[in-house]
């Protein structure tokens, strides 16, 4: 039974991965990645990593992919390349690189002297992979990576806001003065066309107040 589930999930994961790189529309690529992630969560479940599988579905296939969908629909799906196409030779070269990589990985992993690769793994202990076990590890042995990961998330969030912020949202102050924000700004009527997605995309310039 587990072999059947393994092959279904593995074929789903690989088909999703191929779909990501083959489909031309980025929107469909994101959808293929969602299918890939859900198949991968099934594989995680077979490996008795219940908490990681749940986190994969909720965080990855749920939250991160929604972010992708937003950006794809914001940028537009017709983002066709502008320069000349890299040509068939480059595609074949990339395919050859991928094939060489997979052969190398097969030799490195399956040809290694690890005896346990041919087994089903260590005997199952109760509680392996449950949220309790993972939480205990995160707060005892791996406390430092856990804290560093949370700082990394903070830095990434601030960096993303800085990168993508609206540059011309405020009125320019008097020559050389930085724009000032006061509470009264909330009460002023906003100029036509501001505060919309069209302005954020740079299609509407903020008019003089």
């Amino acid at each position: 039974m587990s072999a059947v589930i393994f092959f279904i999930a593995a074929i789903g994961a690989i088909a999703g991965a191929i779909g990501v790189i083959v489909l031309q529309n980025p929107f469909y690529s994101v959808l293929a990645l969602v299918g890939h992630l859900i198949s991968l969560a099934a594989l995680f479940l077979l490996l008795r990593a219940e908490f990681v599988a749940a986190a994969q579905v909720v965080v990855y296939a749920g939250a991160v992919m929604v972010l992708y969908i937003f950006v794809v629909s914001y940028v537009g799906t017709d983002a066709t390349p502008v320069g000349q196409s890299p040509g068939r030779a480059a595609t074949l070269g990339a395919f050859a690189c991928g094939a060489a990589l997979v052969i190398e990985l097969f030799i490195a992993v399956l040809g290694s002297g690890l005896q346990a690769i041919g087994t089903d793994g260590a005997p199952y202990k109760t509680g392996f992979g449950t949220p309790e076990a993972i939480g205990r590890l995160l707060l005892t042995r791996f406390l430092a990576p856990f804290e560093i990961a949370s700082y990394l998330l903070l830095v990434a969030a601030i960096g993303a806001v800085t990168l993508a912020r609206r540059r011309r949202g405020l009125d320019e102050g008097i020559e050389g003065d930085p724009p000032r924000i006061s509470v009264m700004d909330l009460l002023r009527p906003r100029p036509l066309g501001t505060g919309t997605m069209a302005e954020a995309g740079g299609r509407v310039e903020v008019g003089e107040p």
């Binding site: 990645l33 986190a55 390349p81 793994g121 260590a122 992979g129």
Partner: protein, 99 residues
């Protein structure tokens, strides 16, 4: 199924992701291919965690997911900034570091 099968699937997904990074030119799809490669590494980590019967690999898979989320936020912020400056959404056209 033995652990070797999982590692084989992981190697295949990693190679597919690496090929996608080389072939595709839309930065959104390049980011998706990076996700593929990180997920392949996650699968290998969890396979090894099962092989040794301790949870360290699963903890590191979670940390890799955090790093992937950071990469996604910064990468998508860059793409939004590119779009806002009306630069072409094409990694081959992004050759200069100056704004």
């Amino acid at each position: 199924m033995t652990i070797g099968w999982y590692l084989a699937v992981s190697a295949l997904i990693f190679a597919i992701g690496a090929g996608g990074v080389l072939v595709r030119r839309n930065p959104l799809v390049v980011l998706l291919c990076l996700e593929l490669m990180l997920n392949a590494a996650n699968l290998a980590l969890i396979g090894f965690s099962r092989m040794w019967g301790n949870g360290d690999g699963q903890v590191f898979a979670l940390i890799v997911m955090v790093v992937a989320a950071c990469e996604v936020t910064v990468g998508l912020g860059l793409i939004v900034a590119m779009h806002r400056r009306r630069l072409p959404i094409d990694v081959d056209e992004m050759r200069e570091l100056q704004g």
